[in-house]
Symmetry: C2
Subunit: 393 residues, 2 copies
């Protein structure tokens, strides 16, 4: 960890090396990323239908007030099968098919119904209140672009145009290796100097948020050989690995050596507080060495691993956090040459920094409303200066 | 539907009548809503530990440069069980327990290791680089407030403090009834004047987004008796019902009559375009009559049903859409006395209205970046005026 990598250089590396996964076919599902544009093969609506309750008529018959003979009715799913002739009308409800011969709808409010006939009180123009074939979607039109993460309304539209299978980017399978002989799985009761692993439940939730699937969570002791075997095994079944702990250069930090022995580790040490002892390697699958300290782990995940997963999955690389520009409540001192990830609270529309270092303090991220990234070039941000807050909620 | 309800009055009704569901116990899970504050019963860390790789020493021994005898090592999960005496040191790595007798850590960078001893080159103060018991979380402290929707880091912290079960608000069970004799389930091939249901796949995704669970999707014909039976059955197994179609006052619109016969329907018709033929009733479970037209259905869901589900589930009622104030590209004419839900695109940081009415055009919501709500009091919004955009992504 002789020379720390700049945060922007790590971003460049990830954008270059984390390529979209291959394509698979699935039934339409919200949140999945389209691998190709979707073109409709059908018209919506497939038949001309009424936008109103009323009467289907020939517009020419309504030029003068007059009485039209009611010859039938058209209801959604139960059309009138005859033809509307001159001075005839068919009772119709919203969504029902326009019967042959009719070319306009008179709203029920503009009629007076009598025994077997209807008096039209206002003339209508040809096409009035008729939803034309293909008016919503025309056959042959592109309805959804490639790389779209499907929204609820997109799934609705795909159903409407009869699409049963879509081509999407495969979801990244992510393995989590929690290293450290002191670690116990969540739910365990620690004794002595044991601690309960808080990183893998947190990371599992984050992987899901970013469109990945947690393939496995494994615990690995602080031992180079065990770590090598565990990383190699996980790599064979995953598109990406997250290794927590053992990421620094201490005598118990074997993660870096294990990755180097199995592939390459172009980044080891990043100029960011509190996630300095982070690494990025390739086996060739991307492997992220995340600090064991939970808040540093969260910071390194959000800035680097999240970007990697989102790129593998074909998503926009940006963190899915709402952002806002707000003034800083009090001056903040940073360190030139290192990016600061500062947890903040927003009180009375002002940004209060609650923690910057304190690498082990997950409670600061729990108490925070969000965080601010302070560029490496800044040494001091003044009170009142506008900063961009990334909100956790 | 003689008198249309004002949108704000519908909001008031929902806030008054949609009360939080009861509480249940589950294992911690991201996204669930805490029904009570969580207090830690343990200290984190539970033992004093080192924040650095180096040597655990007595701070007093480092006042002058000198050589300390190395008497052992402390590693994460494998503590030194002896006592550090005067002029003694224990090799220690980050996260390992501070051995008895030691009161400070000398960073490895400030030492020179010799055969069996270490030379300390800089004096340290008592407590240096020691993370105290309870420094992250003190036993007895509230770590998470009630009504918090759990974030990834919250789930991590709950693991760290050994919480196996949490008390959360039960998730609303929502039944969807798609009415209309013309409707076919998604994946079907329509003929004649049949259409494929696009509302229930869209609504299923939206219910999940708002923290609800889809209990059932059923198709019901345009028939008052069948609709009464279907609504009564669904009510017995759900916390909320969404009924699409048949919500207006036409001859085939039986949803309102069915709800009135089973409970009450205080709202039928809302002063909003394009979701006017919407209704809100209580059986006593909330039941939302949503227009069959997909875009009107989406609008009515987002403004009314979403708020109901979020309130039942104990969530903030606000739509989970990112918002931004942006200038309108061209003047927009609205209708006084009615709220307009306008789908918009944002091009060059300007808001372009792409659709307001066009009730059946789901494609407008697919093409839109988001929407703008125009207050009932406004008739015209000028070009350049700032409007609040709710973004779909």
């Amino acid at each position: 960890m002789a020379k720390l990598a700049a945060v922007v250089d790590v971003f460049d590396l990830l954008d270059h090396r984390c390529q979209r996964l291959e394509v698979e076919s699935i039934a339409p599902m919200v949140g999945r990323v389209l691998a190709e544009a979707v073109t409709s093969t059908v018209n919506v609506p497939a038949f001309a239908r009424s936008a109103m309750d009323g009467y289907a008529v020939r517009a020419g018959d309504t030029a003068t007030v007059g009485e039209l003979r009611i010859v039938g009715q058209s209801r959604p799913g139960r059309s009138f099968t005859g033809v509307v002739g001159s001075r005839e009308a068919v009772s119709i409800t919203t969504g029902a098919a326009i019967p042959e011969g009719a070319d306009a709808i008179v709203m029920i409010e503009h009629t007076e119904t009598r025994e077997g006939s209807v008096v039209v009180k206002e003339p209508v123009a040809i096409g009035r209140h008729i939803i034309r074939i293909g008016e919503d979607v025309a056959a042959g039109c592109v309805v959804l672009p490639a790389w779209r993460a499907l929204r609820p309304q997109d799934v609705g539209l795909l159903a409407a145009i009869g699409v049963r299978q879509i081509r999407v980017v495969r979801q990244p399978q992510v393995s989590i290796l929690a290293t450290g002989s002191e670690l116990l799985p969540p739910g365990s009761t620690p004794t002595g100097s044991q601690i309960v692993d808080s990183n893998s439940p947190m990371l599992s939730a984050l992987v899901g948020r970013d469109g990945g699937v947690v393939a496995a969570v494994r615990y690995v002791a602080d031992n180079l050989n065990e770590m090598r075997i565990a990383i190699a095994e996980a790599a064979s079944a995953s598109d990406m690995l997250l290794v927590t702990g053992g990421s620094s250069v201490g005598s118990e930090d074997h993660a870096a050596a294990a990755v180097v022995s199995l592939g390459e580790l172009p980044v080891h040490g990043i100029a960011i507080r509190p996630a300095k002892p982070s690494g990025v390697g390739f086996l060739p699958q991307p492997v992220f060495l995340l600090p064991g300290n939970p808040i540093a782990c969260l910071c390194a995940y959000d800035l680097f691993a999240s970007r990697g997963i989102r790129r593998l999955g074909g998503r926009a690389w940006e963190l899915p956090y709402r952002r806002a520009l707000l003034p800083l409540a009090e001056a903040f001192h940073s360190l030139r040459g290192r990016v600061d990830h500062a947890r903040v609270k927003v009180v009375d529309e002002q940004v209060q920094v609650i923690a910057v270092g304190g690498a082990s303090s997950l409670s600061s991220a729990v108490a925070a409303d969000g965080f601010v990234i302070v560029a490496a070039s800044r040494e001091r941000i003044n009170a009142g200066e506008m900063v961009e807050v990334w909100f956790y909620d």
